[in-house]
């Protein structure tokens, strides 16, 4: 099953490679990994999307907690949470496709952030499956380039991950 792990870790050189190294050394999957500093400059927040049975996820959580640089780990899937991902997608937009592409972007609540005579670059956020749906909806031949950040997640309501 797919799980989203939220990790607070020391904002130290090498902390990212410790986490990434753990996943490869122990043969765990990483679907996506995002990391950036938080409002507290000494801490980074990482979101890892991984797949595995409950036992594997439990081991991943334990192994992550064992890393000296990891301050806290939660499995967002244990309760309500919000997941968002940013995608930048460059598409061919000429002739009749131009208007159609604009409409599609609007339907998916994307923004066109760069325009040339032949292309649009669309910015879109949402849960991963929404971005997947957009890619599916657009004619494959028109997609020139996609960049996705991987999911970021946060608990709903009062559920807070903080030191």
């Amino acid at each position: 099953m797919r799980h989203i792990l939220s990790i607070l870790l020391e904002n130290e050189a090498g902390a990212l490679s410790r986490v990434a190294g753990l996943f490869s050394a122990r043969n765990y999957n990483i679907e996506s990994l995002t990391v950036a500093p938080t409002e507290d400059k000494t801490l980074s927040r990482m979101t890892i999307v991984t797949t595995g049975s409950d036992d594997v996820i439990e081991q991943i959580t334990k192994q992550l907690n064992k890393l000296i640089d990891v301050v806290k780990v939660i499995d967002l899937n244990e309760a309500d949470h919000i997941e968002r991902e940013l995608m930048l997608i460059k598409v061919r937009a000429t002739g009749k496709d131009r208007e159609e592409m604009k409409r599609m972007a609007e339907i998916f609540r994307g923004h066109i952030i760069d325009v040339t005579e032949k292309t649009y670059t669309i910015e879109m956020t949402g849960p991963g499956h929404k971005l997947d749906a957009f890619i599916k909806a657009v004619d494959e031949a028109l997609i020139l380039e996609t960049v996705r950040t991987g999911a970021s997640g946060i608990g709903r309501g009062e559920r807070i991950l903080k030191v």
């Binding site: 490679s17 410790r18 064992k66 000296i68």
Partner: protein, 586 residues
């Protein structure tokens, strides 16, 4: 007054009460070696290969309660240390390894003798540091010792660029460590401990399974008291030997791949298992499916939560320091008015499994049996020697036939299985315990992986006894080739062996060759009597001897290959798959 980084480092080591540093100099650590030259608080032991420095520091730590320290230079010095670091990591040994690094501006430029030590060691250390400024040095060393020795212990690498050792800063050693992300637990959960006590009292077929965590956690007394209080059987893992006395009637010996028949049968058929500081690894329980096919309740005490439910799910997990948890468990048991279930029938069954003596071997008048050498050594030393070993048949014979009365006497590379460990390890142990008998049980293949340390032993006057069980084969490889590869002994014969007697003498030691069984005892006595000499004893042993019992890969605990005298024994099939149906499998 300001000190250089190198001086700060040596002051830190002094303040950590370090007694010995095992190391080897080189370009990146010259400043540190100069500071070592100018101090007299700790001794430096110059090894002949960096791997040996790390093994010696490791064994120094294993045999005492102190953190071992090794010091190596950058590049090849650092990479040579990696095998030693991985060895310590697999067995959870507290150790601090200091490696030199090239000057900071040169890092990443493929400088001479540059290697990314932090990157290379990341998967085989508890933690590592690159010291980027001298102002962080003392703090980092303090943290390194703290991390290495607390929680589940392990090696910590501190990589120090040469220019940091030359930078100056004011020295003050921190008195405490604050790390928000690292807070090892100590006490077990009281509710879980009560549950465990209840299960143990109700058990009809209980067993205590003791691992290296009990040795490292100094919880041997608690294990003994618990075993006595409940009158239950105890089995040790390879790493747990000595935690419960090998000769105690309640001790079933080692379990696992080369464990005794009774230990493995008891492990499989118990109804309540108390696992303490052990991790259900593949060489112990073999195939989890088979192990769990007989229903049992498992209580697992370990300081590392990730060791629990890694290979088998457990019913009562208790995370905490084994010593504290066992002390609390003992208190609960002593105060309980709950009557313990009758375990007499269980003991009757165990005694029946014991009766054929699975460690019996046919001794010979003409050829030396390796088991006999170990047996005699145990007898002559009264079990009181420190025994280090390398890896292979001799290691298993040592584990089976030397019955350790105390923990921290049996020093071997259990997890990584590192050949070449034994001699440098013996060196580290002897320096920690100068008055004790220290024997390195090895084979003619393993000993050659770090034989250069005979020179270090000469220089520092380290009179250990090397017991070379020389069968002219990579014995364990040969055994597997005999069993699984149709006697095709591919590259397992050690040809062109040196004359070990002459070799020992060339290094300035005493060499002996023993070829007749009748000479074994006399030779051992003679060697052990030479208290101030290193004696290299080359025992020419039976080439065809195999280690029994043995569990082949993929087989279950009860599906042992038994020694010849037990081949006709009817082994009860494992209890059929229970209603829990592998539910405990991870």
């Amino acid at each position: 007054m300001e000190l250089t980084g190198a001086e700060i480092l040596t002051r830190c080591l002094e303040d950590e009460n370090v007694e010995y540093v095992f190391g080897y100099p080189g370009g990146a650590v010259l400043e540190i070696y100069d500071a070592i030259f100018r101090q007299d608080k700790f001794r430096h032991v110059l090894v002949r290969h960096e791997q040996a420095a790390v093994h010696a520091a490791d064994a120094y730590s294993r045999s005492s309660n102190k953190v071992g320290v090794a010091l190596v230079t950058s590049g090849p010095g650092a990479t040579n240390a990696v095998t030693g670091i991985a060895t310590a990591y697999m067995d959870s040994i507290p150790m601090v390894v200091i490696s030199g690094q090239v000057n900071r501006p040169a890092i990443g430029l493929d400088a001479f003798q540059e290697v990314d030590m932090v990157g290379i060691t990341r998967p085989c250390v508890k933690h590592n540091f690159l010291v980027k400024d001298v102002s962080q040095l003392a703090d980092t060393i303090k943290k390194a010792f703290y991390i290495a020795s607390t929680g589940r212990p392990g090696p910590v690498v501190v990589d120090i660029p040469k220019d940091v050792t030359q930078q100056k800063f004011k020295y003050s050693y921190p008195t405490s460590v604050q790390m928000r992300a690292y807070t090892p637990v100590q006490k077990g959960h009281p509710g879980q401990i009560k549950k465990a006590a209840q299960l143990l009292l109700d058990a009809k077929r209980p067993l205590i399974y003791v691992g290296g965590g009990v040795v490292m956690g100094n919880a041997s007394d608690e294990v003994r008291e618990l075993a006595r209080l409940l009158g239950v059987p105890v089995t040790n893992t390879l790493m747990g030997l000595g935690a419960h006395p090998g000769k105690d009637p309640q001790n079933l010996g080692m379990l696992g791949m080369h464990g005794t028949f009774e230990a493995n049968m008891t492990m499989q058929n118990c109804d309540v298992l108390l696992a303490v500081g052990a991790r259900f690894d593949d060489r112990v329980i073999s195939v989890p499916q088979h192990f769990l096919s007989s229903p049992k309740k498992i209580i697992h005490v370990d300081i590392d939560p990730s060791s629990i439910a890694k290979r088998v799910k457990v019913d009562v997990p208790i995370v905490g320091h084994v010593k504290d948890v066992l002390a609390d468990l003992l208190n609960v048991l002593k105060q309980s008015d709950h009557k313990q279930a009758d375990i007499t029938p269980w003991w009757k069954q165990i005694d029946a499994w014991r009766a054929p003596n699975s460690l019996y071997f046919e001794n010979s008048d003409t050829i030396i049996k390796p088991q006999y050498v170990v047996q005699k050594l145990c007898e002559i030393t009264g079990g009181n020697a420190f025994v280090t070993s390398d890896v292979g048949q001799h290691q298993m014979f040592a584990a089976q036939y030397y019955q350790f009365p105390e923990p921290k006497r049996w020093i071997n590379s259990g997890g990584l299985g590192t050949m070449g460990f034994g001699l440098p390890a013996a060196m580290g142990v002897k320096l920690a315990h100068p008055d004790a008998d220290v024997c390195c049980i090895t084979g003619e293949a393993s000993i050659q992986m770090n034989i250069q340390e005979l020179s270090t032993c000469k220089q520092y006057h380290v009179p250990v006894k090397v017991i070379n069980l020389n069968n002219r084969y990579l014995g364990m490889v040969r055994q597997w080739q005999e069993f699984f590869y149709g006697n095709r002994y591919s590259e397992s014969y050690m040809d062109a062996l040196p004359d070990f007697v002459k070799l020992a003498e060339a290094y300035g030691h005493v060499g002996m060759r023993i070829e007749k069984p009748s000479d074994v005892e006399g030779a051992l006595r003679e060697a052990l009597a030479m208290k101030d000499r290193l004696v290299f004893m080359d025992f020419i042993t039976d080439q065809s001897e195999n280690v029994f019992p043995m569990i082949q890969n993929g087989k279950g605990l009860t599906q042992m290959d038994l020694p010849p005298h037990m081949r006709n024994l009817q082994v009860a099939p494992p209890t059929p798959v229970s209603e829990r149906d592998y539910g405990n499998l991870c």
